[in-house]
């Protein structure tokens, strides 16, 4: 057991080292002068100049040899010091918290929204389709899902902005200072996700409804509703 743990720890360290090294090599092999690019990010279009780039290179020690920079990067990494942003000067951990928190909130809420849409729609389509393979409802949902999924997400976002922000004036167009600002992006992402997942759930439902155990449950005397709730629903939800 101990041996396995040691092996895993070694693997994790090797992984951290190789990712760190790769990042260093890739960043350095980007075309163009790094100092100039950092100066452009920091001081903006109108103030980027050779003197600003020189100041940046001096401040960050970019004139040092590649090996020296690599070793200091590795030393920082070993002490879990992610350093500060080259452009804003803020600690990287703050930048990550700031940017990542929005991403996580959006992703989490989008998954919830997509589940709220996909489960009822998928299950209902599945039941309809099991009863009638040419169900209009199922075909309409399929067509609509295909339409949604074939849109790039930003296109769907624009359509929703036109409806809910411009025409109805219910929701803001852009911004990030409150819950109300998350509604449109969450619905956009959620709809796009639900377009696929409702089809997956629909297929699972269909195969559960055609399965032997579901028929057996009905034969043993359960009402279609109970047979579905006790036997088909759990398997169709868990299958994927």
């Amino acid at each position: 057991m101990k041996k396995i743990l040691y092996q895993r720890l070694l693997q994790a360290l090797l992984m951290a080292w190789s990712v760190g090294t790769l990042t260093f090599v890739l960043t350095r092999s980007l075309p163009g002068d790094m100092a100039y690019k950092i100066a452009a990010g920091r001081y903006g279009d109108d103030a980027v100049s050779s003197s600003a780039a020189k100041a940046v290179a001096e401040e960050l020690g970019l004139h040092k040899s590649g090996l020296e920079q690599y070793l200091s990067w590795m030393a920082d990494l070993a002490t879990l010091d992610l350093g500060t942003s080259l452009v804003t000067g803020a600690p990287i951990i703050y930048e990550l918290q700031n940017q990542l928190s929005y991403t996580l909130v959006l992703a989490g809420l989008a998954i919830i929204v997509s589940a709220l849409i996909a489960f009822p729609l998928g299950i209902y389509s599945g039941i309809k389709s099991a009863n009638n393979p040419h169900s209009t409802f199922d075909h309409s949902v399929l067509a609509f899902s295909t339409f949604l999924r074939s849109q790039p997400v930003f296109c769907l976002g624009l359509i929703l902005i036109f409806i809910f922000a411009l025409e109805l004036n219910w929701l803001p167009v852009a911004g990030s200072s409150g819950f109300v600002y998350t509604i449109l992006p969450v619905i956009t992402l959620g709809l796009s996700l639900a377009a696929i997942s409702n089809r997956v759930i629909r297929n699972s439902t269909v195969s559960a409804l055609h399965s032997g155990y579901f028929h057996f449950a009905k034969i043993k005397g359960l009402s279609p509703f109970h047979a579905f709730r006790r036997h088909a629903l759990p398997t169709s939800s868990c299958r994927h």
Partner: protein, 519 residues
Amino acid sequence: MQIQLITMLALVTCLMLSACTPPQPANKITISGPFEPVNNDPASTGYMFTRMQVLETLVEVNNLGQLVPGLASSWKSNSDFTQWEFTLRADVHFHDGALMTANAVYKSLAVAFGKPTPFPKNIISDMEVTSDNTIAFTLNQSYRPFPSLLSNYTTAVVAPSSFGKFNRIKTLAGTGPYKISHFEPPHNISTTRFDNYWGEPAHIENVEYITGHRSETRALMVRTGQADIVYNLDPASVTMLRSNNNVNVFSDRIPRTTLIKLNSGHPFLTDVKVRQALSLALDRESIARGVMRTPNIAADQLFGPNIRQWHVQLTPDETLKKISAAQAKQQASDLLSDAGWALADDGYRYKDGARLALNMITYANRPELITIATAIQDQWAQIGVALSVHMENVSAIPSGHADGTLETALMARNFANIPDPLGIMLADFSTIKGGDWGPMNWRNDTVFSNLNLLSRTTNDETYNRLIESVMSEIRRDVPLIPVMYYVQQTATSNRLRNFSFDPYERSFRVSQMTIAPNQ
């Protein structure tokens, strides 16, 4: 049970949606623009804090580009412009309550000069506090436009309490009519009125700035009333907003010109005839109408009409409109033939076996540049010049200048960084080195010596005569090719009153605006 749950959820959603559209508060306005405030350091983000009227500079600039007192109430120099003394305004308080003293200003400027500035700070050899309210500078050369450098945002005066370890900014406190209440880089700055302001206090209590990356988003924000002022709109959005009754659109010329930077040391470009031909071949009016959808912005010289002293009134013979585009193209072709570039069967020009082919760098931050570059590519191809356009990071221009690899570049040059054009001319046009955003490997001894005289002259008549001579020489010698002047498109919601646009883009001027009641 399930039905109840669904009904509940539906109700909550409806409630949330109905609560989503609160009316805009009567004491707050929202501004949106493409500018990203990355941190609270005046060296990099000072331009945002002066616009939000949090920070102020010693010298201010009016609509005509003239210098007017800011935190300095007056200034004077010796006869050869090497010694300067600035008298500070009395009773100015910082947002932290402290009084602005000469020592505080000294500290703030000393830190600012230790960081990159978009002007040559190496001309300052000494700075000292000469009394409680005066601060003096000694320069190592005559420099007439010196006060204009102290209007740049990097020199904005910051309270001593703002500085932390290694003079990094902890919490930014300035002297402006608004103070920061919340700052979330790079997307949000919120400010509230500073009641102890030395000038007329602001009318609107709270201001919020939201970074809106896309012009289309900003246009929708002002259309829906989510924003009260939006800056930097694209031509298509302007057309849409003009037809909306709830929005006012403003178009103002700003001191910025779209230019083609030329490497005059490049073997193909050393001959002035080639440079003149490239300039003549441009159909600027078509680009202005087709790409920018704004007529009358074709640039026939470096500085636009709003930079009065340096914009030369051209005689009818000198203007671009004198000849038709077809005639201009013919003249350009003749000039190239004179210079020895012969047209071959493939439609391009050759000399000594070399094809007249050039590279042009441009950058994506200003979306119109790539479209203009493509138009230029086509127009130059018509006179037999092969141009390849490369989209790069904006820093490729100064770095290409430094390592000599740049051939041509299309750029939007900001002349507001140093409001006195003489400062720009001295930095960029007075040596063969040129400037990162100016000429490259270009030599014109008449211009070099006249600019040197300009920085020293005290006689206004001589000053104007020298300007005319410099500008006409530059027009003839084409170290840069002017393409068009910039027009800034801004839109405001109609509840906003007293809106005015600062052509030097130093301030959003919110402190003088009001919100119309009952809207």
